[in-house]
Symmetry: C2
Subunit: 418 residues, 2 copies
């Protein structure tokens, strides 16, 4: 490969970044993909890791392994410290020399937003990475261990109270599964009646799953109630402490709060000098490039893309389609062809609530209940990366389905040595 080969730098190994790299497989470019972890995570199933249904490795693959046969791609585990759009240079956190690029694809995604209350994060972790999922699992399981050890019934009830902030898909999925697990664990404890577990889902808006049609929201709400979840809409959290959550003057005693409300784009977007919204998401042109910098593409949860008057949702299929589109426009550039505008094709939205409970929105028709749940299962297994993961997940789900048990209920501590 000569020095003249255009260099494409991709920031982020999520759905968008990986898809972009793959779509440039046969293009006359060299690619450097940078991620601060060594693995791609299948984010839609993170809640299963957080609730001990799957092991981390079931839903993650090493990025360099995924791209091992793509000889024009180099993968570096590193963190970006700065981007200079004028000099077309990315600076990295470690000893690596700066990377000059001809094209930059920014796909670094989003973190949770605490709406200006960053101090809440310590009490109410969110769910975006494998580490997040393991931290949530640890907290969830340790609460039961502590409940089993206390003689104070008030403390025990607070330990058995789990509050989920945010009624989007992640909050709903976590709430449903946590209530199910608590019941399934009842024979494991001697002093604690795990059926006294309270799972409280707080949604600031008027209904759960607000991105779905109203009738499906309603169904999901009822499904949650049937599972024993306490659902509170129009419930704006005003304070989060280590032993309580406040909604105005109302105090809910709890030791375990999880955060699934609001996204905040990674800070990379701001260092591009492009226009962005309060959440840090970058406004892009129809071809997904940044205004004034046609060599910079922004994709996935980091980008604001409007279509038919609505924002394209921050979901995996949209990120993947954007990855493909950005790569296509680079290939068009290199062949001297005009760029193509991005257009999101929504193939349907799915959300699961619990065993045999799910909703699916295909625009023209809706599916709910058992059928939607099996559909959800099928789609997620099909999309899971890699043959091995798929089989392993299938096996564990089959086991869980038959036995009502979760296989991965391990509490691991942070290592003393690292």
């Amino acid at each position: 490969m000569t020095a003249r080969t255009p260099h494409v730098v991709i920031l982020g190994g999520g759905f968008g970044g990986i898809r972009a790299a793959r779509a440039l497989r046969t293009a006359p470019v060299r690619i450097t993909l940078i991620d601060r972890t060594n693995h791609h995570v299948f984010q839609p199933l993170l809640y299963q890791v957080a609730t001990a249904g799957l092991a981390g490795s079931d839903i993650a693959s090493p990025i360099r392994w995924m791209l091992r046969h793509q000889r024009n791609a180099t993968v570096l585990m590193s963190e970006v410290s700065a981007i200079d759009p004028e000099r077309r240079v990315v600076a990295l956190d470690d000893a690596l020399p700066d990377l000059e690029y001809d094209y930059l694809i920014a796909a670094t995604g989003a973190r949770h937003s605490y709406f200006g209350h960053g101090e809440w994060e310590a009490h109410a972790p969110g769910l975006k990475s494998l580490e997040d999922a393991l931290a949530i699992r640890r907290r969830f399981l340790i609460a039961f261990e502590l409940a089993e050890k206390t003689d104070d019934s008030e403390e025990r009830q607070a330990l058995l109270t789990f509050v989920l902030v945010g009624g989007g898909p992640t909050g709903v999925e976590l709430a449903g599964v946590m209530q199910e697990i608590a019941r399934a664990m009842r024979s494991d404890f001697r002093r604690t009646d795990t059926r006294q577990t309270r799972v409280i889902l707080l949604e600031g808006g008027p209904r759960v799953l607000p991105s779905f049609p109203e009738s499906l929201s309603k169904r999901a709400h009822q499904d949650l109630l049937d599972l024993g979840v306490e659902v509170r809409v129009n419930a704006l959290v005003t304070r989060v402490e280590s032993e309580a959550v406040w909604i105005g003057d109302e105090r809910i005693a709890t030791r375990t709060v999880f955060w699934a409300a609001g996204n905040e784009a990674s800070r990379i977007g701001q260092s591009l000098g492009a226009r962005h919204d309060r959440a840090g998401r970058v406004e892009v042109e129809p071809d997904l490039s940044v205004r004034g910098h046609p060599e910079i593409f922004v994709i996935g949860d980091l980008a604001i893309v409007r279509q038919d008057g609505k924002q394209v949702p921050a979901v995996a299929p949209a990120a993947m389609q954007m990855g493909t589109a950005a790569a296509r426009n680079i290939r068009h550039d290199l062949r001297g062809e005009p760029r193509v505008s991005f257009r999101y094709r929504n193939k349907g939205d799915l959300a699961t609530i619990g065993r045999h409970k799910a909703i699916a929105d295909f625009g023209k028709f809706h599916v709910t209940g058992r059928l939607a749940w099996w559909l959800w299962l099928f789609v997620h297994i099909m999309y899971l990366v890699g043959f091995r993961n798929r089989l392993s997940v299938l096996l564990q789900w089959a086991y869980a389905y038959v036995t009502y048990q979760r296989g991965v209920r391990l509490i691991t501590q942070e290592s003393r040595l690292c």
Copy 2:
């Protein structure tokens, strides 16, 4: 259950502790099992977790799940802070009231011994817990990531040099697998030739696997050489630093050292006030009780048991047999029958070196090579706890066997939030 029911406190949920609890299933006692983690670990396969062949959950099960149907057993996740053998009381680290016992079974096992150089631990972690295994995995994989990022060839070679201290089963297994993985990863990297990986096994004594007959040691030594491992016997480590290991005046440049030499019993043994050796292991009577305290049993790696002039080895089958024996003597006490002396029945020793390479010692005859390897595989799958784990492990091993790939090559960081 009345207050008069004898209370058996078991410290440690390893092979010995779990087996003792199960053997008291039908005895007229109430049992409290205490472990500082929530899970039992199948230690003989920890090296597979450390080398990304298995997920932590494949070789571990929640202790309370294992004992969920045993109604006379309560499991507490806690740490022992003191034992008062005269008052027959165990004090715990947290807010729990002291536990009075009628019988105490101490089965807290061993940690690595750094022979008075505790400061080496930071540079050379050992392999006893799930956390240890994940820490080793992280270090092992990150070394390759760093090698891929450096432009300094000397540094790269140091990063690709892995030193294992201790030529027992753990050291040998780690060495063999690490060399194999390094080769299998060669297409994942663009700048690093993973075939230049050096795995150096240092054994202080005259031969590797010293607990095996000499002819099998020899075979294992040759197997390691065939895999490309550098084996050094009579090599006593005199210093461990962050960038080197010293053997006298010889300096080996390396960034990654793992420790598999020497055991040191947990400190519990010393707080029993019983006779113990330099490594902290407790001398027990033929019935496994402590002299002067027939109500205290010490089992597993924490106990020194001599038989036919030799020490019973610190292996899983011995710990399990001791667990059964201690429980049996408690049952005999309760029925007014005399106690029975413990007798270790060695069913054979196995060690694996790499694909199709293993050794087996059945006393009267030896097995090596491919047959021993399949035997090792069979025995370990059969012993693995729980149906689900067994199937999952089988699947992953089949996958690894066919593809030469490791499925679990994830680097997870310690959580920011816990």
